[in-house]
Every structure is written in structure tokens, then in C-alpha cells.
Symmetry: C2
């Protein structure tokens, strides 16, 4: 299969709003949008957390400062957009169970406010929504296809699933165009290591590079599907610009399962420092543990002529080399 790249024609001169544009995926997506000639808008609560990003794309980027629940700012940011990448929100399964009402407010009310703004200010725009593997029932046989049963065991997963319903309902009632991407575990540059709840890879890399001990819960046999953020960005942009994707739900992962223990070993090996220790499961993590997961990605590969390109070993090597170059990320 020939794998497609995002076409410049789909983005040159088009207006793309990235909510949460300074977050992990946002800060990888924004430069790529700018590179293809899009007029990029970032809506975020504060900036610039990473000056280099801000400087690199500044001339083509408009900033809208506000919380995702601020309806007036949303209305301004959305007006006349062609694409909306909704990356703002709270993440983390165990955190969500500790503060469900805050998760509800940011993730559900925030999205409903955005959809309402789009309905009046950008009714023709396409919104891409990052859902999560955490909408699925735990302990399904891998790989898990989109038709598998959904049964979230965290508030975060439950709110991702209701968000998918919102998009379907706004599509049905208001003709809103949307694509849902159920993501596995993304990793890559610009992920802040202090965000424990987001991704395990950067956390492990951070420990290894600093010569510390990577702590793996239990035997670390549970499988995960790690996808490099470059592959995520490419899929997100293809999804937004493919008319046939409108209304669709796709898994977005590498399709390759890796155990946590193997991941930790790989990182120590590539970094050349650090070591691995197995520790008992903390309750907060055990209670949201989903068992093995690996995505069946045949649907998105077929529909978008997309495929993951970054091998885990290469991706890990790349992140480690950037950490070495960037003393800010060292402890």
C-alpha cells in the first residue's frame, strides 16, 4: 500500500484552530500546520510554555487566550475556521476519578461550548476529536477493533465516550462534520515529563536519562500500543481533510503491542543509563488498569491510506537525543 502524506492543497490558506495548542500533541501539530501554509489559531489558557515553539511559528499563528469554557473567546477563535483540532482538556484516568466534576466541566462542558460556537461561527468546519482507547471495556482480546464493546472504567474514559456521542448528535441535528480518533498511548518530543498522567514513555525516558530507576508496576507484562506523535499528527491532519472520514470513528495506534517491561528495558538500553525496578501496583493505578491493549488499526489504514512510520526503537532514540540536547528536561 502506498501511504499518503497530508497534501499541502488541503491546508494552504485554510484556517485551523488548535485548542490546547501548547500541549503535547498541539505543539507537534502546530508547526506542521504552519509548514503546510495554514493560518493557525491557538486557543490556550496561558503561553508560551515553550518559547521555541512560539518563535518558530509566530508569524503565522494567532493566539486566543482563554479557558475552553470561555464562550466569548471560543466564539472569536472559531469564527470562520475550516478545521478545528480540539486538543484542550484534562487528561489522566486516575486523576479524573479523583476529581470527576472538574473533568466533567472541562472535558464535557468545554466540548459542548465549542460545538455550540462552531454551530454558529463555523458550521462548515470539520472538527477532529481525540478520543481514547479508554472508552473500551477492559481486558478485551487484542487487537481491539472499533466495533468492540465500550465500557469505560474511569471518568476520563466515560467522558471521552459521551464526547463521541455529542459529535454524533451535533452531526445528526446540525450537520456538524467530525472525526473521532480513539488514540492509544502517544509519545514523542514536546511532552512535558512532569505530566505523569499523560504518557509513560517520556516519564521512563526522563528517569533513565537522569540515571535513575524506572519503576514498573507489577511484572510489567501488560501490553500497550505506543504511537509516535509524528504519526498521530499525520493521521489527525489526513482525517480532517478527507471528506470521506466525516462522521467516522477510527482507532489511532501503531497496531504493535509492547509490554511495559520490554519498553522499560528498551529505554534503558538506548539511553545507556538508568535501571528497571518492579514495584507493587499503587491502588490508584490498579483501579484504572485496563489489562492488555493493542489497537486494530485496519480501519484507519484503509480509509485514510495512512500507516504508522516510526518504529518504537527509533522513536525512543529520537526522544532521548532531544532530551540530551535540551538541559531543561533534565532533573
Amino acid at each position: 500500500m502506498d501511504v499518503k502524506s497530508t497534501s499541502e492543497a488541503a491546508y494552504r490558506g485554510r484556517v485551523a484552530l488548535v485548542t490546547g495548542g501548547f500541549g503535547f500533541i498541539g505543539s507537534n501539530l502546530v508547526p506542521r500546520l504552519a509548514e503546510l501554509g495554514a493560518e493557525v489559531r491557538i486557543m490556550a489558557r496561558s503561553w508560551p510554555p515553550q518559547a521555541d515553539l512560539g518563535e518558530a511559528v509566530q508569524p503565522q499563528v494567532r493566539f486566543f487566550k482563554g479557558d475552553i469554557r470561555d464562550e466569548a473567546v471560543l466564539q472569536d477563535a472559531v469564527e470562520g475556521c475550516d478545521y478545528v483540532f480540539h486538543l484542550a482538556g484534562k487528561s489522566g484516568a486516575s486523576t479524573s476519578n479523583e476529581s470527576p466534576i472538574e473533568d466533567l466541566d472541562v472535558n464535557c462542558r468545554g466540548l459542548l461550548s465549542l460545538l455550540d460556537a462552531m454551530r454558529t461561527g463555523a458550521p462548515e468546519a470539520v472538527i477532529v476529536f481525540p478520543s481514547s482507547r479508554l472508552v473500551y471495556a477492559p481486558n478485551l482480546p487484542v487487537p481491539v477493533a472499533e466495533t468492540s464493546p465500550t465500557m469505560p472504567i474511569s471518568i476520563y474514559g466515560a467522558h471521552k465516550l459521551v464526547a463521541e456521542s455529542y459529535l454524533r448528535i451535533f452531526g445528526r441535528h446540525h450537520g456538524l462534520k467530525s472525526v473521532v480518533l480513539r488514540m492509544t498511548n502517544p509519545y514523542g518530543p514536546h511532552q512535558r515529563p512532569e505530566q505523569h498522567s499523560y504518557g509513560v514513555i517520556n516519564q521512563f525516558i526522563y528517569e533513565a536519562v537522569n540515571g535513575r530507576t524506572i519503576r514498573v508496576f507489577g511484572r510489567g507484562e501488560q501490553l500497550r500500543d505506543y504511537i509516535h506523535v509524528d504519526d498521530v499528527v499525520e493521521a489527525i491532519m489526513l482525517a480532517a481533510s478527507s471528506p470521506s472520514a466525516s462522521g467516522a470513528t477510527y482507532n489511532l495506534g501503531s497496531g504493535t503491542p509492547t509490554s511495559l517491561a520490554d519498553l522499560a528495558s528498551l529505554i534503558v538500553q538506548v539511553a545507556g543509563t538508568g535501571k528497571v525496578e518492579h514495584v507493587p501496583w499503587p491502588d490508584s493505578e490498579a483501579s484504572v488498569e485496563t489489562g492488555d491493549f493493542c489497537a486494530d488499526i485496519s480501519r484507519i489504514k484503509e480509509a485514510l491510506t495512512w500507516a504508522p512510520r516510526v518504529e518504537l526503537r527509533d522513536g525512543v532514540r529520537d526522544v532521548i537525543s532531544r532530551v540530551h540536547r535540551s538541559p531543561r528536561l533534565r532533573g
Copy 2:
């Protein structure tokens, strides 16, 4: 099969909170709880909308005045409860699509606040949650079992489904005991005819009794499952007091399908007045129309030794006779 009735032993001297206790189901449930000797608490935003109910049960009932989102009142109301019947909330599929954020706030934030209050104030209590047939995908083959795919097409249905997740998650993380009842279309006395969005039967009866025209959308062939509120109350109370029901999800309906057109004819026939007219579907209703629905109720019949007792014709006759006795309900 011998059908069980709710045992007095399960309720005498036990503390039962009914949120939304003055609503349609609440005002049928409260007298039955009082009759079995429960200490009843009602939490509601205002009262008494129906003086007769208030007077009949007053001595055994404590009132807690407050919105379901008022955490302080919730905490008081919940403290020391054995049973919580969470009947407060906004209802109506088409209304929810017009004001999704309000639906979110009342139905999702309200429930999360209640669960949080229970976690500290009544950790051993059982909560019964009225979910809805509207969590299911539209146009499923009837009868619809609990294992059928869920895919709500209204915000109301989406929020019922996320509420089911909350109960599952609070059960998993905090040991909270709950029963989910996915209700079909309940009808019966104490339903306010001005609540168009709630139930179609009382609306039809109201028109017929007043000699007016019942308007049926389209040909009225779509099937529905109408259940009398007495049967609902019995099932709710059995569910709360059956330890084996904890954590379960049951359909709650009559299990008998009736077309809207047949329902309208039956009502005109029993009332002896009114007539039926077929009118085009309004957009707001067409967009939330789910196609035929009838519940498969084998799971709840088996688990709770419960069965519906009120035939539709008898139930309709009973409601009509009460309307005739109660001039308040006449136009």
C-alpha cells in the same frame, strides 16, 4: 412464576431518600415507601406542587429543599440513608438537544454531586438510577435486550449512558451499590400534562378528555413500550432491596409493544371523547425519533421475581377516571 411484592421488612424503619420526590415517579413512589413504614426524605427544588400528596404522607416525610447541584443540602439529605432513589433531573430528548449544557449540569453534575455525598455520608446505601431506553441505538430489532448496542441520538440519552458509567465507576472504586433501570415509557397518575416532553400517554389523555384532537406524528406506526407507574414503583423498590441486583442493569418495561396510533385509538375509545388526527413530523421530534422500541424484560423478571401487572387498557381507564375526578387537570 410467582411474582414477588416488595417486602415490608426491607423498608420498615429504613431511611429512603427520593430526589425529585414531587415529580411523576416520585409522587407515586413516596406514598408506597411511607405505606411500608420507611422514613422518607424528599429532596426537591420547590413544593408542594400537589397538596394532596404532601398532606397524605407529611408525618413520615422530611423535606430537603434544594437543587440537586446544591452540595450542602445533598450532604444533609443523604446522611445515614439506606436507599437513594435518584429521580431528580431534567427529562426530554428534544429539549436536551436544545440546551445540552443545562442537561449536562443538572443530570451529570447533579448525579456526580450526589454520588460524592453518598461516598462520605451513606457509603452502604443502595442507589437506584432510572436510566432510559434512549441509551440504545435507534431502530434495533424488538424486543431489545440489555446486551444490545448503545448509541444515543439525544443529549438526554447520552447523559443517561454516562450516568450508568458513573455508577459502575463509583462501584468499582468506592464500593458504591447501585442498580440501573433502563425505563421505557412510564405513565399513570400524578403525571403533569404540561410536561409534554415526559410522557405521551397523559398528553393524549388530556386532549381526549377535553374533547380535543390527539395529534399523532406521521402514520403513528412506531411501536412503544408503555409501563404503568405502579409497576415501575414495585420494580424500583424490589431492585433497591435485592442484594443480588447490586451492580446490575435491567430493562424496565411492560415487554408489550403498542403502536402510537393504536394507543391514541384506545384512549379515544376509553374516554368516549376526542379524536385522532395524523400530522407531519415536526423536525425537533423527527430528529430524536428512535424507531420501534419494545424492551426484552426477561432479565429483570428472572432476577427480581417481578412482572408487570397493569394491562394498558386498565391503566388508561384508571388515569382517565382520575382526570375526570380532578378538575385541576382539565383545560
